[in-house]
Structures are given as C-alpha cells and as structure tokens.
C-alpha cells in the first residue's frame, strides 16, 4: 500500500486539559506544536534518530498532491522510550506505519507524536511532552480509565 496522508488538521475544541500533576517535559509543547491541529500520517519509515533530548522519527508521506514528503515526528527521550518497551527494531526503515500527533506551529512538516501504529495493528506510544498518553480518553478503542 502506498503511503498516503490520511487526515490532517482536524480542529477540535475537546482537548484534554492537563492538570497539575508531575510533568515530564523537557520543553513546552504549546510553544512549538498546536494541540488544536491533530494530524495522522501514514508512510514508510526512513529513519529513527535516537537522540536527546527527544527522539525523532522520520517517514515518507504521500501528500494529497501526490508529492512524497518526508515528515519528522518528535518523540520522547530515548531513555523514556526504551523503558516503555521501544528498541532499535521497533520501527525499522521501510516499515509502513501510521503516526498520530500534532502539527508544528511553524507549518513545517513536523509533528509531535502521540502514538505509532505498526502494520500488525500494534500501537507504540511515542509521546513526548504533552502528547496524549495511553488511556487518556482520546482513543475509543482503548479501555476506559
């Protein structure tokens, strides 16, 4: 299946507002990304950068105009992803994945990732600062809190 852009810019007013619990951010989500612009990207992994303070996942996405564009997705810190169960083989180059996240405010082809859906349907939470956590209520297929 060829990569394609599934959905972009679904404006929503139903953001889950953070409460004053211990927070993990290296930086402020809202300064860089737009929580009102969720985006779903589908394409083939080109590389995963295990870099600090945030890992970055890159994938080639076929845009509506047919042009293939490389998108970058910010994830959590490598040490956090490793402890959640990620490893170097989780998203090998060429893997067809779907990424749910939020677009960068500068309009570039970057997003803050929430979760990665693998070809077999498995979901990996890639979130960094301010992405939806598992069981945060955004995914109707997930069990309730």
């Amino acid at each position: 299946m060829s990569p394609r852009l599934l959905l972009a810019l679904v404006a929503t007013g139903s953001l889950v507002v953070a409460t004053p619990v211990p927070a993990i951010a290296h930086h402020a989500f809202a300064a860089e990304f737009d929580g009102s612009k969720p985006v779903t990207l589908k394409g083939k992994v080109t590389r995963m950068e295990w870099i600090n303070p945030h890992a970055w996942l890159y994938l080639d996405v076929s845009m509506p105009n047919g042009k293939v564009v490389n998108w970058g997705v910010e994830g959590g810190a490598p040490n956090a992803l490793l402890r959640r169960g990620w490893n170097r083989n989780s998203v090998l180059p060429g893997t067809e994945i779907t990424v749910e996240g939020f677009r960068a405010k500068d309009g570039s082809n970057r997003a803050n990732g929430r979760q990665v859906i693998l070809p077999d349907g498995k979901k990996l939470f890639i979130g960094s600062s301010g992405t939806g956590a598992p069981l945060d209520g955004r995914d109707p297929t997930e069990a309730k809190k």
Binding site: V21, G85, A143
Partner: protein, 321 residues
C-alpha cells in the same frame, strides 16, 4: 492520576490492550514520604571512613512540588503561550515505569504552607519569559537550552530519567544525574569555597559529614540560571537565581534502601524567606542510567522560535506581560 506507565499495545484489529510493564527490576514500590531513621541501622563505611551512601538511587514521585493554590496557573507554568489551556499539551503521561508511587502533600516542607515565598519581581520575570519563550533563546530555561537543570533543581523529580548514582572516593562524593547528563564532584576534605569572584551555573559545592549526614554547602552562583526548570515544579519553574543564592543540601541514609534528602534554599534577592524541600531517594540497584546527551539533537529551541515567527507572520495578537 494513577500510574501511567503502561505501554498500550493494541493487537490486531481487536485493539486489545496489553500492559507492557515489564521493565526489569523497576516494579518496586517507591514511597515518597520521608523515612524515619531505622532504630538499629548503622550505615556502612567506605574504606576511608565516610558513611557509605553509594548506590543507584531514584526519586520518581507523584507528590506535587508545592501545595496547590487557586491562584496558580498550571497551564501557563507548563508553557501555554496561547492561553488555550494546553500548556503541557493534550493529555499527559508521567513515565513512572511500573512503580507504585505515593502522593504526598508537597515536596516543599517549609514554610509549613508548602508554598515557596517568591518575590513579586521574580514571578513577573518568570511570567515574561514563559510568555515570550518564542521570542528569544534567553527566555528558555537552562534545561530547555541543554545547559543544566541546576543545583538543587537537578534533583527535583522529573517524570523520567530520575536516576542518581552516588560514588565515593577518598575526600570526594560524586553524584551522576541521569537528567540531564550531569555530574557533581563534591569535595569533603575541608577545603574552602572558591573565591567569590567565581560565578557558576551550578555554584560551588563543598561537603562535610555531620554524623551520618552529608551536608553540602553551595555558593558562588551566577545569575543566569533558574532555581527549578521542569514543569513539575510548576510555579517555581523558571524562577531566577541570583548571585546571592545559598543552598544547603543534606543527604542522610536512614536505612539500606533510603536516603532522606533535604535542601534549604535562600536567596534574599529572590525569596522573602528561606524554604526547604524534602524527599527520599530510593535505592534501585538494578536501575540503569542512560546517556542523555541533551544538546545532541535539541531541535526544540529553533522549532519554538520558528513557531513564534510563523505566528508573527500570521498576525499573532500582541502579548501583554
């Protein structure tokens, strides 16, 4: 919110959640209450006679930094530059990795109110910098700039990377901080502080033993850093430090698995009175510290600034603080 440490995996089309919590050796309870000294426990000694506080320690916790007040602006402290109530973003995860965390009243134990006595000017500076983070790199905290989380800020619990390895040698205590890849080498040989002309981001640490307690006196700060940098510190995040900052830390190993950590912070140019934080450090021998080379790929700074320029071009409303 309870433990959010599970990696949710939906298998196939059925999207069945399976908890993937098996992070080796990291499932023990991690009580955040300060422990009472064990009655019949004497800390071991290092070969050179110091009380032995060596080991791998963590301080994952659900205890808030301060007691919450209705006047607090948690979204703003989390970086909500638009006032949309999404400072920390939609939804949040605290990576506690399978630990059972208790939630106490506050890490700030003095004043008894659990509120840090911050001067008004310092709160205004914090507000300005948080609101104008997209305008200038100097408005970022030193953590966001990958410089340092500070002393004592480096030990205020982040939600991930909360590991600290303590090693001792003759005349020294070394602390390796997982977040953000920092190491302190603290002389405990009685030498004096550096000359006052030396001004450092993390100050100049000098340790001494008072019984079984390591007391670390920290002076010689510059005025570029912040007392606290991570969002979990809420109202205290991005509060400036002055050259008058004076920090006294106390590490007391009260049983095999617990160090009681206390820190007194006084800065007469920033706070109206000294204040104190207390928390346990919990022994986790199997915990592994991962490298966190923060500047390796710190795209957040240029991306945040470019977000601000894009918003300027789009007619961002002028911000008033």
């Amino acid at each position: 919110m309870t433990i959010r440490t599970r990696l949710a995996i939906a298998t196939g089309a059925s999207a069945v959640l399976v908890a993937l919590v098996t992070v080796a050796g990291q499932n023990q309870s991690s009580d955040t209450k300060a422990a009472a000294p064990a009655a019949n426990w004497t800390p071991p000694r290092t070969p050179d006679g110091q009380p032995d506080i060596q080991g791998m320690w963590t301080n994952y916790t659900n205890t808030p930094f301060e007691v919450f007040d209705e006047s607090d602006k948690p979204d703003f402290y989390g970086g909500d530059v638009d006032g949309k109530g999404a400072g920390t973003g939609p939804g949040f995860i605290a990576d506690t990795f399978g630990r059972k965390l208790s939630k106490g009243r506050s890490l700030v134990v003095d004043p008894p109110s659990g509120r840090v006595p911050i001067m008004e000017w310092a709160e205004k500076q914090r507000d300005y910098r948080l609101l104008h983070i997209q305008d200038d790199w100097v408005n970022f905290t030193p953590w966001e700039r990958c410089i340092t989380r500070g002393v004592p800020g480096g030990i205020f619990p982040p939600g991930y990377g909360a590991g600290y390895q303590i090693l001792q040698g003759p005349g020294y205590v070394a602390i390796i901080y997982e977040m953000i890849h920092e190491a302190r080498i603290i002389p405990v040989d009685g030498r004096p502080h550096l000359h006052s002309s030396f001004k450092l981001w993390n100050g100049d640490s000098r340790g001494r033993w008072e019984g079984n307690t390591l007391v670390v006196d920290v002076t010689n700060y510059n005025d570029k850093g912040n007392v606290a940098t991570n969002i979990a510190t809420q109202r205290v995040r991005s509060i400036p430090q002055s050259e008058a900052l004076h920090v006294v830390e106390r590490f007391t190993r009260v049983d095999e698995k617990t160090i009681n950590y206390e820190v007194t912070i006084e800065d007469p140019k920033v706070f109206t009175a000294p204040w104190k934080v207390a928390m346990p450090l919990n022994l986790e021998p199997d915990y592994k510290i991962f490298e966190y080379a923060c500047h390796e790929g710190n795209h957040a700074v240029p991306n945040t600034l470019s977000a601000g320029r894009a918003q300027d071009r789009g007619g961002r409303a002028s911000r008033s603080q």
